[in-house]
Point group: none
Chain length 314, copies 2
DNA sequence: TACGAGTTGCGTCGATTCATGCGTCGAATT
DNA sequence: AATTCGACGCATGAATCGACGCAACTCGTA
């Protein structure tokens, strides 16, 4: 029968790597077809595929390729090491290739970057979900997602490439946050409104905040990107939130008028957050807080929730 | 009833291939007359003819013969080109009056519209999730989500209001689809690439398609909105998908050049879908399929799924 | 902080291997 | 007598091979 003897190209497509990479893996690490006559085409058996799949999974989790290959050859079906971060860093150096600069952000970030380059949404989801369930939303955002996204953005701003990578990763992150929100039952009505500033396109940080809130048991309402001032005021007026978070990524979208309008409305929220690097500290109207990072925003939001509970109880 | 038991020569003439090729196809791929005694002449029944016709059509479209043969044996009637059956077109007249015009789309749509007006994401999620788990993605999209979204869009185009409602509902829908994708384990590598056309902002229909694919057990890769041609080609080149779906919502984003570029690339996909109302049927290059609705696109994609790529199997 | 060494993914090039359509030949079928 | 059968072989284009090199990232060191 046609016992799945895949050619190099087929395997490469299946794994999401280039054909030349398969050859390199074979030559450098001995990770190739079990039987191969030099000069002839490579024929990968199912067993070989399992080995390569292990290789892929390990590298997607940040294990250095050389080490991952050694592992894949010896124990083809090795599950991910539970402890994880305890990678013996002796002598082995990590390299690059066509990757995404993540600097010293840990092996998980490197793995995520690698999976992203391959457009491997499964691996991306795996890494993100694992990180969130292990370290929580805030830590994952600060140490894994933001560095990788920043790296992609940096690269893509410079070379106008990687746009598709950025889209894919953004969407995976968005989905992961959505899953967090859905997983945590929101008890109580949402009293916190999250919205992007007018014209602001980046809603991912807001979604991170939303997920963090959900994780902390705080219900919220997320409007999304590009919310015109009128729509925002309309929403505030209709839902009467206790706090409003307005995100601005770049200076051009950080019009303080929006904040003023929020405070001047008929249904004035108790607290207004000017979040994001776009806002300038000196031009903010009084009564607006400016959290510097996710953790601070979260603790502020928790304070709002508590004060509401108190006032409701009293 | 010897219904047209054609001889090898007759079939060969009809298909435009040599007689020996028919023999080769039989020996190499098992694609021959259903009943054949070795040594005797081959007698092709009409059913065999259909199979051969599929084989010819696929190979004519650039499918690797071995793959095409496997495909032809399994799914003899895989529709490839040509206009699909006529669409049921019915002028829906919306009653208007209330908040969001949903027409006669059932009570669920009305409930969804009402929850949307309240910006009540919990209720929105509830309605959507229930509909999807009851009726499936395709029906939910066609009878619930699309009408409501269209209603919101219509209203907001007229009055410049409801923008926040549209955002919220869009995001909820997006999350629901993402949840569907995550719930269904994708077995096998994603061989179908979904992408918006250049400049195209609406990705929700694509996400619906992705969810429908996942529901049917077909893995896919979704790039998202606003994918420049270069990025799309890059992705195709790197991942080598069997099929590419390019969505265009409005005519202004439906540049046929993108399709041509896809077909001309070095790693030409097996099938290209021009999806969405933006495309004009008469300006599509040859070899491009234009599904008229979600259901048709889904059945086409299902045909692609069966082609496990082992094109170089010995 | 800057620089060099070590890693790694992948593009490129000329040569080789493979898959595939089809022609040819002697024997068998119709 | 006209085809067709099975087997074999050939020409050709696509895929792959091995070798080499490049670019880019990380990390230790000056």
């Amino acid at each position: 029968m046609t016992d799945e003897a895949l050619s190099a190209g087929a395997v490469a497509r299946r794994l999401g790597v280039a054909v030349t990479t398969l050859r390199t893996w074979h030559q450098r690490y001995g990770l190739g077809p079990s039987e191969h006559v030099p000069g002839h085409h490579r024929r990968y058996t199912p067993a070989d595929l399992i080995r390569l799949e292990t290789m892929r999974r390990l590298t997607a989790n940040g294990v250095a390729p050389a080490e991952a290959a050694r592992w894949a050859v010896q124990a083809p079906n090795a599950a991910l090491p539970g402890p994880g971060p305890r990678t013996e860093r002796r002598g082995t150096r990590d390299g690059g290739g066509a990757t995404i600069p993540v600097g010293r952000s840990g092996p998980a970030a490197r793995g995520l970057a690698r999976a992203a380059m391959r457009l491997d949404s499964n691996a991306i989801n795996e890494v993100i979900d694992h990180a969130i369930s292990t370290d929580g939303v805030v830590v994952t955002w600060d140490t894994l997602l933001r560095p990788v996204l920043a790296g992609i953005g940096e690269r893509h701003a410079a070379t106008a490439a990687l746009i598709e990578v950025e889209h894919l990763v953004s969407r995976c992150v968005s989905e992961a946050f959505a899953a967090v929100v859905r997983a945590h039952a929101p008890h109580g009505p949402p009293r916190i409104l999250l919205s992007c500033a007018d014209e602001e396109q980046h809603s991912l940080p807001l979604e991170a905040f939303g997920a963090a809130l959900a994780e902390a048991g705080i219900a919220h309402r997320l409007l999304g990107a590009r919310v015109p001032v009128r729509a925002l005021l309309e929403a505030v007026n209709r839902t009467g939130p206790a706090a409003v978070v307005l995100w601005s990524q770049t200076r051009s979208t950080a019009d303080p008028t929006q904040l003023t309008a929020l405070l001047a409305g008929p249904n004035r929220p108790l607290l207004v957050f000017a979040a994001g690097p776009g806002w300038r500290a000196d031009s903010l109207p009084a009564g607006v807080v400016r959290p510097v990072n996710l953790a601070e925003a979260l603790s502020l939001a928790a304070a709002v929730r508590d004060s509401l509970d108190q006032s409701a109880a009293g």
